[in-house]
Amino acid sequence: MDTLLSVKNLKTYFRVKRGVLRAVDNVSFDIKRGEVFCLVGESGCGKSITALSIMRLIPYPGEIVGGEILFDGVDLLKLPEEEMEKIRGKRIGMIFQDPHTSLDPSYTVGWQVEEAILLHKMIKEVSKLAVNLLKKVGIPAAEKRYREYPHQLSGGLKQRAMIGIAISNSPELLIADEPTTALDVTIQAQIVDLMLKLREENGISILLITHDMGLVAEACDRLAVMYAGKIVEKGSVEEIFSEPLHPYTKALLRCVPRPDKDVEKLVAIPGTVPEFPPASGCRFADRCPMARKECFEITPEEVNMGNGHRVACHLYG
């Protein structure tokens, strides 16, 4: 499998009153063609900002201050805005967490699917294409739903319609930012199956952003664990779940209540995520049970542990 997207040393900072918030700081990862890649972490770890950086949709006062985002060999950060518009929504589609707010309430579902298609190519039989898309994403009675407004659809159907819009131009990459967090579990299972089916049939790559370790284990091939703006560990889903290396990954897996087995005691992670972490040192150091002196002083470099399993921790340096 060749690489479709390569994010290299991405830095996205927010200049706020109290200083510079380094929301994404030196983040690198690759997504191969046809792969489901997961960015996982807790709120505020920078996973969504990473996704928005790829789309170049960073809101003020945020700014991409460094790095490269190579999409099919082209650095998206160097493209003029007109060129980027030809990629956004065409070669890279995106769906968001809350399907209730990401559709426009004043236009029909069909209109919104058509808009997404017509933005990138002028075709005559666009309505037929839109209905077919709604069918493809598993919306029952698609002809009827095509004429309806978002408020007439349930959350699950809205998210299906969003996926329809995102894939309307047959993108090579689909970015899904917490696509099922607002949905019930039975509906979540349907949406996950739909995304995996799209990967199967169209060879689409998926960047899945989530905080749910269950979803990661179920849907993705490889993942990166983020903490306070940095990737602390990345590798295949089998490797990381069977042999997590970074103390944060280990802690994260130990604090998830398991639906599949009885756990004697969950272990919480003491302390809180630093908002403005110190410029050097490991950002997890003050909450880490294994922290040593150097962890507070020197920023750990990524170490290759073999099989593409990489970890940024002094324990393995």
């Binding site: 807790e42 709120s43 349930s154 699950g156 159907l157 019930d184 579990v185 039975t186 509906i187 979540q188 299972a189 349907q190 996950v192 199956d193 905080h211 749910d212 370790m213 269950g214 979803l215 990661v216 284990a217 179920e218 849907a219 889903v237 089998e238 779940f241 802690a251 994260l252 897996l253 604090c255 998830v256 209540p257 398991r258 639906p259 599949d260 087995k261 009885d262 756990v263 005691k265 969950l266 272990v267 919480a268 992670i269 003491p270 809180t272």
Partner: protein, 325 residues
């Protein structure tokens, strides 16, 4: 007590008994039957979970028990007294014994009140003198693991996990018997959630609390509960012990729910297809068994007749197929 009698429990150790509870809301000319004839019994000292997806009526049921909503009909018998009939001093005393923890600690704490006043407020309502209630509030804050000095701060100065600890301290301050918790950790990150769940477990042991827990997270159910009731569209479909429920769910909806939950272990990926269809419109619930529109085993009888909640293998199930077979 063996597992069988535990699930269908109707002994004397009952703390709360809900009988044929109905909570209808008028929507135009129709009624939305949010809770439609629920009967449940909760033992003294147990941790009981109500699970179901959004709109199933689990939170509405909890609000009826808390006295926030006045039920359309039915009885809520707490320590032998029907809460729906209590007034005045007796109601105040019953309310002291039943406390509530809400889902979102960002919304459930008054932003203009200091932490100590938030925790002391239930004590003030119960008529505890000022000096004493401040003392109890500070003690309770320590007990839930908050550091000294937190008393004089405001909610916005605390993290989500700390705020939820304040909410727990507020519930605990008046020494309740029954604590109603409505998704108490679903607004929190997992690393913080673990701390809150552990705290709630510890407090249950130390204070002999009874929990009625509402959640949609099967992992949380498995960690904290002893018995579970599964709700679907205003009805209870299954009541079982935790072990029975997770090892051998009987109702097709319970099975589907457990099958849909992603397991944090890549070697246990879901193989069966997910449940088809959407939750029906609660204003026009399906006839017969309300789950028949999504049930893979539905028959003609399921469309016509509503299945009663009946004992089966030491638990309660409302399903024609299970109860016949």
């Amino acid at each position: 007590m063996d597992t069988e009698s535990r699930a269908t429990y109707t002994g004397n150790g009952s703390l709360l008994r809900i009988e044929n509870l109905k909570m209808y809301f008028k929507e135009g000319k129709k009624y939305l039957k949010a809770v439609d004839g629920v009967t449940l019994e909760i033992k003294d000292g147990e941790s009981f979970c109500l699970v179901g997806e959004s709109g199933c009526g689990k939170s509405t049921l909890l609000k009826c028990v808390a006295g926030i909503l006045k039920p359309t009909s039915g009885k809520i018998i707490f320590q032998g007294q029907d809460l729906t009939k209590l007034k005045g001093r007796k109601l105040l005393e019953a309310r002291r014994k039943i406390q509530l923890i809400f889902q979102n600690p960002y919304a459930s704490l008054d932003p203009r009140m200091k932490i100590i006043d938030i925790v002391a407020e239930p004590l003030r309502i119960q008529g505890v003198p000022k000096e004493e209630r401040r003392k109890i509030a500070v003690e309770t804050l320590r007990e839930v693991g908050l550091p000294p000095g937190v008393e004089n701060r405001y909610p916005h100065q605390l993290s989500g996990g700390m705020r939820q600890r304040v909410a727990i301290a507020r519930a605990l301050s008046v020494k309740p018997k029954l604590v109603l918790a409505d998704e108490p950790t679903s607004a929190l990150d997992v690393s913080v959630q673990a701390g809150i769940l552990n705290l709630m477990k510890r407090l249950q042991g130390e204070h002999g609390l009874t929990y009625l827990f509402v959640t949609h997270d099967m992992g949380v159910v498995r960690y904290i509960c002893e018995r579970v009731a599964v709700m679907y569209l205003g009805k209870i479909v299954e009541v079982a012990s935790k072990k029975q429920l997770f090892n051998s769910p009987l109702h097709p909806y319970t099975q589907a729910l457990l099958n849909s939950v992603p397991i944090p272990d890549p070697s246990k990926r879901r193989r069966r297809p997910p449940l088809k269809g959407e939750l029906p419109d609660p204003l026009n619930p399906p006839s017969g068994c309300r789950f028949h529109t999504r049930c893979p085993y539905a028959t003609e009888k399921c469309k016509r007749e509503e299945p009663p909640l009946l004992p089966k293998n030491g638990r309660l199930v409302a399903c024609h197929m299970v109860n016949q077979g």
